[in-house]
């Protein structure tokens, strides 16, 4: 058996320990704090750190809602898709980019989840939900008589409730294929913002007769109870390509086009589920989890040094590396891995993986200790200890990999179970599965490869070649 040990044993040069340790520390430092330089007021991020992590709505605060067509209307896939695209349009037009939106065609549902806008002040979830789901019936009506006026929150007048001849509906939103905002140059060369309507074939015919009947008269466009616009018909339009011009700015033209698009759907959306989280709550949680992470790391570091001495010390370095890798995988440090939305269970998973992450090192350290107690030389113990613990580490980690994959598949956006159970938003648990998986993989890389190289290298130092430092009895 001795010959076998000698054959398998390879010394690792002494400087390797310092090189590997420094690399791990440097990598983790940049992964945690990020690297950025300031060019005037512009921050240029070179490497992303914790500060660049995209937080989920349970931390940043936000709204989640599920909509369905009201009154049991059976929407076609296309209608659902266009309702979805309208919500998407609204999100984009409101400057919310970091949202999730899914249309579940099986059960006719649209699921949306979005964080609060950075300039949001009121955090009124109800208003936000109403705003998105206020899909309304678009109508074209003769004249522009209205019963009442209001002043909207934007300070503009809101004309409400059609009266008189305007009560007649000439054409509804289903005639509109799409509306887009754009601009043309007038005679003086100034930009004039316009809204272009593209009508369906059916709509074009209707619109031709309307424009003929109401030539040089007003035809107003209504969304439910509210008048959006009251243009005057300038010409008979028979090709289904209409333009609305007026005193538009880029914003008002876009807003009108969006509303017209939204109104082309023949059903309302009602809210089936909703949830909201205030940002103050999430901030509080983030601070708590931050402390938890740091304290957990310190406590585990102390336990490892106390019980395993030198291998324990090396376990801490590899644990730092593991944290660095995990954070890097979440923050988008590696440009090839897209950044990930981190939620509270995600952070809990990360902290949990600190606790579980020492497992590789514990198994190896225990094994080395055992071999030393069995009377082997230090090198022999190191060699056999690392070799014999490998299969247990691989098998043990595989189960956690399986579980974290299942967690991601179940709680993720598109998953194997979607076929049966429909689409869903990525619940907060999704991120738990992700951090757990990343934790296990990083642990694997750090615990199996780097820890072992460091351990062998450090064992080359004369003053450290004491069995006590590796878990043997004091007098060895």
């Amino acid at each position: 058996m001795n010959t076998e040990v000698k054959k398998g044993m390879k010394r690792v040069p002494k400087p390797v320990f310092f090189i590997v340790a420094l690399l791990i520390l440097a990598f983790s430092f940049t992964a945690i704090f990020g690297v950025a330089y300031y060019n005037g007021d512009n921050k240029n991020t070179v490497l992303k750190g914790i500060g660049d992590i995209r937080w989920g709505i349970d931390i940043r605060g936000g709204v989640e809602a599920t909509f369905r067509p009201a009154d049991g209307y059976d929407a076609t896939d296309e209608e659902l898709e266009s309702a979805k695209s309208i919500i998407e349009l609204r999100m984009v037009s409101q400057g919310i980019t970091d949202y999730e939106l899914y249309a579940d065609k099986g059960s006719d549902r649209i699921i949306v989840r979005f964080p609060w806008k950075s300039d949001e002040k009121t955090f009124d979830a109800v208003a936000a939900i109403d705003e998105i789901s206020s899909t309304a019936q678009l109508t074209f009506r003769p004249g522009n008589s209205y019963a009442s006026t209001d002043i909207g929150s934007d300070g503009e007048y809101v004309y409400k409730t059609p009266t008189g001849e305007t009560e007649t509906v000439l054409m509804d939103g289903s005639a509109v294929k799409s509306a887009t905002a754009g601009y043309t140059r007038d005679d003086k060369g100034d930009a004039q913002y316009i809204v272009s309507l593209e009508l369906t074939d059916e709509g074009a015919k209707t619109f031709a007769s309307i424009t003929e009947q109401y030539l040089q008269k007003t035809v107003s466009i209504w969304m439910d109870d509210i008048m959006l616009s009251a243009p005057t018909v300038q010409a008979v339009i028979s090709d289904g390509q209409a333009q609305i011009s007026g005193n538009f700015t880029a914003e008002t033209a876009t807003a009108l086009a969006n509303k017209i698009n939204a109104g082309a759907l023949p059903f309302h959306l009602e809210t089936a589920n909703y949830g909201s989280i205030d940002p103050s709550l999430g901030e509080n949680s983030l601070v708590a989890m931050g402390y938890a992470g740091v304290i957990a790391f310190i406590v585990i570091a102390l336990i490892m040094i106390f019980f395993y001495r030198l291998p324990g010390f090396i376990a801490i370095i590899s644990l730092i590396g593991q944290m660095g890798l995990s954070i890097a995988a979440v923050s988008g440090y590696f440009t090839t891995i897209p950044s990930f939305t981190m939620t509270l269970p995600g952070i809990a998973g990360l902290i949990l993986s600190i606790g579980m992450g020492v497992d590789c090192n514990v198994i190896t350290a225990e094994r080395i200790k055992e071999e030393i107690k069995a009377g082997r030389t230090l090198d022999g113990a190191l060699d056999r200890g690392t070799k014999n613990s490998l299969s247990a580490i691989i098998d043990g980690n595989m189960t956690v990999v399986i579980v974290s994959l299942i967690l991601m598949l179940v709680f993720g956006p598109a998953n194997i179970l979607s076929i049966i159970f429909g689409e869903s938003t990525t619940g907060t648990i999704y991120s738990f599965g992700f951090t757990l998986l990343v934790g296990v993989i990083s642990n694997f890389i750090m615990g199996i490869f780097f820890s072992r190289v460091m351990l062998r290298s450090i064992a080359g130092f004369k003053p450290l070649r004491k069995k006590w430092l590796f878990g043997g009895a004091k007098n060895d």
Binding site: N284, S285, A292, A296, I303, P345, L352, T399, F421, F432
Partner: protein
């Protein structure tokens, strides 16, 4: 390894085994104490089942459908008075619970849960917040969190979670069966599964006893513990496989198991301790900062880790040894 082949035909006593394979230290007799272990587990199960009958279980609104709102406020308000006021303003029967953030960041909290399994309309949240602000103008009432789930969607989510647990369990057994073919893979897999159900049952009873509604946290914890508990079991099986090669096939499988278990127990306990430490710290901070979602995650996870460690050694192992003995006896009869 050549000298091992001679051992294969000799049946050693436990003392000899300890002398030769455990450096003279005593081998802990886990299999022999199986009656005590099974007794403890059965007692806990029975208590759990009784509690289940008495208290019943509740599904969280994530699964059953329903609605809850959480408001923060400042200053002191009499809790019954507040409850009555909210009740007066709503048509559904409500239950309220109060909590406080010890760090003072989100002040006092009142959680309002509506009875019934229907989602509430968004108007209710708005009007209730307005009513509260009107009644207690100095307390700056603010809606911190709101959840409202449609019953049919909740049920489909529950089904999805259960299917996930089933798939995970099946994959685990499959993995163990394949990896441990040499020591009777299927029996090892099945017994590991029994230990897993043991852990799931304990987590479930914790929910029952603490009257926590079953929510997606429960499913996450269950899946997590499936992996964690099996990790412990696998490390032990791995050692059984290795020791069996060294000790020889003639040796009683119970003795080999005891030997493997004794040698790995320090590792099993250490890993559980570090994992438990991490979760405990998360739990404590979640309590201090009043974050119910994280508390509901960390507490069952702690129980799961303890149970996972215990069931791997004290339930899965002895059961597996019993199965092997039973099979060996059967083979001899033939």
């Amino acid at each position: 390894m050549t000298n091992n082949s001679t051992k294969a035909n000799v049946q050693m006593t436990v003392e000899e085994l300890a002398q030769k394979h455990n450096g003279g230290r005593k081998i802990i007799d886990f299999v022999g104490k199986k009656k005590i272990f099974f007794g403890i587990s059965l007692t806990i199960m029975i208590i759990g089942i009784i509690c289940n009958f008495i208290f019943g279980t509740t599904l969280d609104i994530q699964f059953s459908g329903g609605a809850s709102l959480r408001f923060s406020y400042t200053g002191q308000i009499d809790q019954t008075e507040l409850h009555d006021f909210i009740q007066e303003k709503t048509t559904d029967k409500i239950t309220t619970s109060f909590s406080k953030d010890m760090m003072g960041n989100s002040g006092n909290n009142v959680a309002v849960q509506f009875s019934g399994n229907d989602a509430i309309s968004t108007d209710i949240q708005d009007s209730l917040e307005a009513d509260l602000q009107e009644k207690y103008p100095d307390s700056s009432f603010k809606c911190l969190e709101s959840t409202s789930v449609d019953a049919s969607m909740g049920f489909s989510f529950l089904l999805k979670c259960l299917v996930a647990v089933a798939i995970a369990s099946a994959l685990m057994v499959l993995y163990v069966t394949i990896r441990f073919k040499k020591i009777g893979g299927l029996s090892a897999g099945v017994m590991a599964l029994v230990a897993l159900f043991h852990d799931i049952a304990l987590i479930y009873f914790l929910y029952v006893i603490f009257q926590m509604p079953i929510d997606s946290n429960f499913i996450a914890v269950v899946l997590m513990i499936l992996g964690y508990s099996l990790n412990d079991t696998i490390v032990i099986y791995d050692r059984v496989r290795e020791e069996r090669k060294l000790v020889g096939r003639k040796q009683d499988i119970g003795d080999v198991f005891n030997l493997a278990c004794t040698k790995t127990i320090r590792r099993t306990i250490m890993t559980s301790v570090t994992t438990l430490c991490a979760i405990l710290i998360v739990y404590i901070l979640a309590v201090v900062y009043n974050i119910p979602s994280v508390q509901g995650f960390a507490l069952p996870m702690m129980i799961g880790v303890i149970s996972g460690c215990y069931s791997s050694i004290c339930i899965a192992g002895p059961l597996w040894v019993m199965w092997r003995h039973h099979k060996a006896a059967k083979n001899e009869e033939k």
